[in-house]
């Protein structure tokens, strides 16, 4: 009998379902996966090495570019680690703003995930729907920081500035008449919080729309149910966090287990799955979007009632007020020092993690007391999820690889760093 050899197939790096630059070397027996070997690093930019030669605040911009669909959550982990080393408290209003934007980011991330995952599996419409809603949230990013994606809005000690009182307006042009523009500007008449209130009122209806398309869809279920199953024990062993471990039935969420900022004062639930398959992870993430929406509402309520400072008052660490800078000698010195030399962080080491939309995103900083981190290690959730792809796809069909990549919710900015 002649020897039958396995077939080796190269998947990516330029493939629409590779979610960026994943190269998978697949060993196939017929159409069944025997081994999946991911080759990563095509987006490696050496963020950790770069961070060692930049002052602390300069690195915030690099954090945005790690997981480039959940920008502010990355900044959050980095800023929290520095705050831990400096032992400073963030003003309460800034904590609420951070929580609100973390949840906005979670919705942004899950919409991106849902759109691309459904597109990979074969539902084109989802992609268009999801990007429609992302637009509003990106406008919120833009209103608060000036950038639609890479915000660098969180700073050690608080957030860069308070929420704006007005939203930018669309203007009439040769392509859009005044009547059309007025319609577009209808929910932009008030402050950013009013704009977001309008969004939160609409959003649950949108999630219902997505669910009518997918949740009971026969094709969607055939493609996702029992694909990439993980038990609770396996999930722990494989370092899964976030929705990946929750879908396996473990109610593990850092927002509840190690509450940071003001999460312990807010009301929300953690959805968990039972089977740990791709469909459960879909259901968990859908419910998370509703919970995030609920959290945003609570934050808006609080923020509307409680004005106050959004930045720590120690200007040896944070930027001084503009007026002080012009009139006060000390303010001038602080400003000069802040932007020329930065601030020193006391010697020591700290690890801080946030419940990032994808899982546990943490940064480990070793400081020798200088104005730059001595070592910055970024713990990205997608990294350990992708590492498990061989385990998840073994014995599945080739077409299921695409489903598994989608359900992992991987972004190469954070995996390759």
């Amino acid at each position: 009998m002649s020897e039958i050899q396995n077939y080796t197939l190269n998947f990516g790096p330029q493939h629409p379902a590779a979610h960026g630059v994943l190269r998978l070397v697949l060993e196939l027996d017929g159409e069944v996966i025997q081994r999946a070997d991911p080759h990563v690093g095509l987006l490696h930019r050496g963020t950790e090495k770069l961070a060692e030669s930049r002052i602390y605040n300069q690195n915030i911009g690099y954090m945005d570019r790690l997981d480039y669909v959940s920008m502010m959550c990355n900044e959050h982990a980095y800023c929290m680690t520095i705050e831990k080393l400096l032992e400073i408290e963030v003003p309460e209003r800034a904590q609420y703003i951070r929580v609100m934007f973390d949840e906005i980011t979670r919705i942004l991330n899950h919409l991106m995930w849902l759109g691309t995952h459904a597109l990979d599996v074969g539902a084109m419409t989802m992609f268009l729907y999801c990007f429609r809603e992302r637009e509003d949230l990106m406008d919120a990013y833009e209103a608060v920081s000036g950038a639609r994606m890479h915000a660098s809005y969180y700073r050690p000690g608080g957030v860069y500035r308070d929420l704006p009182d007005s939203m930018p307006q669309y203007e009439a042009s040769q392509w859009h008449t005044q009547a059309e523009v007025d319609e577009q500007n209808k929910n932009r008449q008030g402050s950013l919080l009013d704009f977001l209130t309008d969004f939160t009122e609409r959003f649950n209806g949108y999630v219902d729309e997505y669910e009518t398309l997918l949740t009971d869809n026969r094709i969607w279920k055939q493609r996702t149910v029992d694909i990439g199953c993980v038990t609770a024990e396996e999930a722990k062993d494989l370092s899964f966090t976030g929705p990946m471990i929750r879908a396996s039935g473990v109610a593990w969420d850092l927002r509840k287990m190690e509450p940071y900022e003001v999460y312990d004062q807010l009301d929300f639930d953690i959805p968990v799955g039972t089977n740990g398959d791709s469909y459960d992870r879909y259901v968990v993430r859908m419910e998370e979007m509703r919970q995030s929406n609920h959290l945003i509402k609570q934050c808006i309520d609080w923020l509307q009632k409680n004005p106050g400072a959004v930045m720590h008052e120690d200007h040896k660490i944070t930027m001084p007020h503009r007026v002080d800078m012009k009139q006060d000698m000390e303010g001038l010195i602080h400003h000069f020092k802040h932007f020329s030399e930065g601030y020193g962080v006391p010697e020591g080491e700290a690890y801080c993690a946030v419940e990032h939309p994808k899982g546990e995103f943490g940064t480990y900083i070793v400081s020798d007391g200088a104005n730059k981190p001595y070592r910055l290690k970024i713990r990205a959730p997608g990294f350990s999820h992708l590492a498990a792809i061989n385990f998840l796809t073994e014995g599945h069909m080739l077409a299921d690889v695409v489903t598994v990549i989608g359900t992992l919710d991987i972004v190469f900015g954070e995996i390759d760093r």
Binding site: W252, G342, E347, G348, E349, Y351, E360, R379
Partner: protein, 204 residues
């Protein structure tokens, strides 16, 4: 928080007493233990299987190169392999650190204990050249195919050593020594800061 971790620190020391007298430090609400590399498998096994500890998840494994460290602390060796462990069951964390020599940084792999450590160790090997003995598949992970050197070592230049371009004559991509120079706009500086003088330093 610190109270909880001091108690946990005692529990860890007691549980590991038969293997090694570990040095445990609590700082910033985090527990760190320094262990010797010979005992790492035994210690990790205990940390995972002990009922009250139950560190069932490895959150992170990373290398640190202390060769240009300018702080006041003195380190036992050039490299450290740092493990961040988490107990999902008991909701607590620990940082385990082991020191590795400059000439041959090698330590036993913890992949047999937590399979999640696989890629973390591959990354630390790639970035620092730390060898994890017993690792099932210790290949480079993030750097280019055929890459030479370990980029996160402090003696590796930030601008790298080679640059790549397409050569029209040879009709292929070629590697050449870098032509750019490292530019430092803001020097690294440690100020003598009396605000932090009284603060209790953490270990290592």
């Amino acid at each position: 928080m610190s109270q909880y971790y001091s108690e946990l620190s005692d529990k860890v020391s007691t549980a590991l007493a038969s293997i090694e007298a570990v040095q445990a430090v609590v700082a910033h609400g985090e527990l760190t233990i320094d262990i010797s590399k010979e005992n790492i498998i035994q210690i990790c096994q205990t940390l995972r299987d002990h009922k009250e500890l139950g560190f069932d998840t490895v959150i992170d494994v990373c290398g640190v190169d202390y060769s240009t460290y300018e702080g006041s602390k003195i380190h036992k060796a050039r490299y450290a392999s740092v493990y961040h462990l988490l107990s999902v069951t008991n909701n607590h964390r620990i940082r385990v650190r082991t020191w590795l020599d400059d000439d041959f940084p090698m330590v036993d792999s913890v992949v047999p204990i937590w399979s999640g450590a696989n890629w973390f160790e591959r990354e630390a090997f790639d970035m620092f050249g730390i060898l994890y003995s017993g690792h099932p598949d210790l290949r480079r992970l993030l750097t280019d195919y055929g890459f030479i050197g370990h980029p996160l070592r402090k003696d590796f230049p930030m601008v790298g050593q080679v640059e790549m371009r397409y050569d029209a004559n040879k009709q292929r991509v070629i590697y050449e020594p870098v032509t750019i120079e490292e530019r430092i706009n803001i020097p690294r500086i440690i100020r003598d800061d009396n605000r932090y003088a009284e603060r209790q330093g953490d270990s290592a």
